[in-house]
Structures are given as C-alpha cells and as structure tokens.
Subunit: 169 residues, 2 copies
DNA sequence: ACTTTACGTCAGTCATGTTGACTCGAACCC
DNA sequence: GGGTTCGAGTCAACATGACTGACGTAAAGT
C-alpha cells in the first residue's frame, strides 16, 4: 500500500484522513495531560498517580486486581503508586467482607479533593471542546473513540440513555 | 458502582458526559499505542522512537528544533532518541543550505519501511474506527479533538478540503 | 564585535514501567 | 482435611524516557 496520495484506498479512506486522526490523537492526548501533570509534579506525584486516583474515585471500593485490569500495568508498578497515595493519605484500603483476600480501595476526603482539582482541569478542557464542537460532533467523537478501543473494554461504555447533550448557557 | 453524583454541575455539561470523554481518551490512547509499542520493543526501541520516526516521515527535512516543538520534550531526550535512530540507520541528517546550523532530518529507506510497519497498525485501527462510526461521526471526532488541542497547535489541522461545511454559532 | 540561535554533549536524577521469585493468608475444590 | 488457586504484597534488578543544569561550538543576526 504505497502512497498514491489522491488515489483510491481500498478502505474508502484516504491516507491523509487516517494520518490526521493519528495526529489529532497525539496532540490531543499530549495537551490533555500537560496541565494535570504540572500540578502533580508540584506535590511530587506523576500521571500514574492521577490515573489511580481517577479510577478509584470513579469506582469506589474497587479491588487491586480490577484496577490493574483497567490500567494494564504490573502489580509491582501499581503497588508503588498505591503506596505513595496511601502514605500521603489520599487513598484508604479496607478488607473485603465477602472475600477477605480483597483490598478494596477508596479515596479519603483529601483524595477526593485532589481528584477534583486534577480532573476539573480536564473536565473543563473537555467541556470547552464539547461546546465548541456541538452536540452532534460529541456523538461522533464518542463513536470513533469507541472504535479505537479494544473489544474487551468497549463494554465500559454503554450506549447513552439520551444522546450526550450540550446545554446552552 | 455507587455513583452518587450530586445534582447540579457548575458547568454546562453533565458531569458523566465529561467523564466519559476523559475515559474514552484514556482507553483509546492506551489501546492505540499498545501494538506498535510491542513491535518496537522487539527491536529495542520505544514509543519515543516511534513518535520521532512518525513526524520525521511526515515532515521530511524537519529541523531538530521544529521536531522538539512538536514533541515538547527536551533536546537531551530527543538527542538520545535520534542518536539511536541514526546509529541503526533509520534516520539521516544533512546540513541545511540556507542556514548551515540546521540539521535536517530524513528517514532512510529502512526508516520509511519501519515507519510504514508501525503506523500501518495504527492506520488500520483508525480506519476500522472510522468505518464503524461513519463519515459524519469522523467529522465530529475531528471537531472535538481539535477543541482539546492547544491553540498553538490547532493550525496544524487545516479545515477539510471536501465539503467546507460552515457551521455557525 | 557581540549576541543569539541551533545543535550537541556530559552528568545526574526521577517516574514509570518491566521480569522474576517469593511469601502469606483466604478461598475453592476434591 | 489437604492441596491448589487466587488476591495481594514484597524484594531485587533493570530499561526507558523524561527532567535539570552546565558547557561547547559553529553559524547567523545585529
């Protein structure tokens, strides 16, 4: 598949459209994470801590194994991150009742506050993008991103009850 | 999970819609990079090398400074990466003619081949997502992603050539 | 002539990931 | 009851990709 630029692609998609998608993802992700990264650096934490805090906040009482499944890193890596977060009082563990082997993770009040500060930045950036693009575009964004995600994780995103709506100010 | 999301959001968008966007980006990026990362690991390179190769291929003759501007990393970091790529014969440098301080970067034939292999995977994933989502969704994806990107880099993405769909408001 | 720019390099540090091996206690199964 | 699997944690060693800071050199700009 050599680059016959304006030629017909068997997928009906032009090479440049695909490349543009790749680049949008690169630049989008880069800019999406830059500001929270800077905030985290100030308190000696990194992006990995943000991810852990985010998903614990999103799934209170999640087990270590389930969190590993989301993050797709090794338990040794996560262990270091969780250790930092627990030492600094952002995260608490409690033993599972039904299965006492499980350590269920929760944000402390301090953790909730940090999560809010970090994600607020990203929510605002996302909100700005949604507002600029319009409601219809948001649904398109959702559909394309879903297509990029492995089947295994697609189920984390149920179809919206009502289409994500942009509320006029 | 117990999502006790308190009622009113100071933003104009529902909290959950924004969170879903954040998560789509996280999972999408994670899955988008996983396979090329695995290929790179086999030849002792990493994601940083892929990024350099990609943008050199995309901008043949780009200067080191310009590449730094795209990647937003330090010259020391890029230097290591470029060194690896030049040692292994994926990238060539030539001196600028107008400005002889500049080192203009280009992929060798071997570099082009590697870039093709790596990005082919991502192009196919992107093509699949585009096909599943449909043409209209692709435009929406483009618009939302653009909104996530810092103003400074927005200009890298000119409006699509085909239907210059003017959206007001 | 002086300053700035483009690039490179040396040296040290940090964050985040990896493999592999091992322990411990709880749960599961025959 | 006993053996095995599972969830979690730990120790050790290592790779990668980022960072800061300092310094050097050559070319271009003023």
């Amino acid at each position: 598949m050599t680059d016959v630029k304006s030629g017909v692609n068997p997928l009906f998609l032009r090479e440049d459209d695909l490349r543009q998608g790749i680049e949008l993802l690169f630049f989008g992700y880069r800019d999406f994470t830059a500001e929270p990264d800077a905030m985290l650096a100030e308190i000696g934490l990194g992006r990995a801590h943000h991810r852990a805090i985010y998903f614990i906040g999103r799934n209170p009482g999640i087990s270590v194994t389930d969190l590993l499944g989301i993050l797709r890193i090794t338990k040794q890596s996560l262990s270091r991150v969780l250790g930092d977060l627990m030492d600094q009082g952002f995260v608490d563990q409690r033993q599972g009742t039904r299965d006492r082997r499980r350590r269920l993770l929760e944000l402390t009040e301090k953790g909730v506050e940090l999560e809010r500060r970090l994600s607020e930045n990203q929510r605002q950036r996302m909100a700005r993008a949604y507002r600029l693009a319009g409601a219809e575009a948001v649904e398109g964004f959702r559909r394309v991103m879903l297509g990029l995600i492995d089947d295994a994780d697609r189920s984390r995103f149920p179809a919206p009850a009502a289409p994500p709506r942009v509320v006029r100010r």
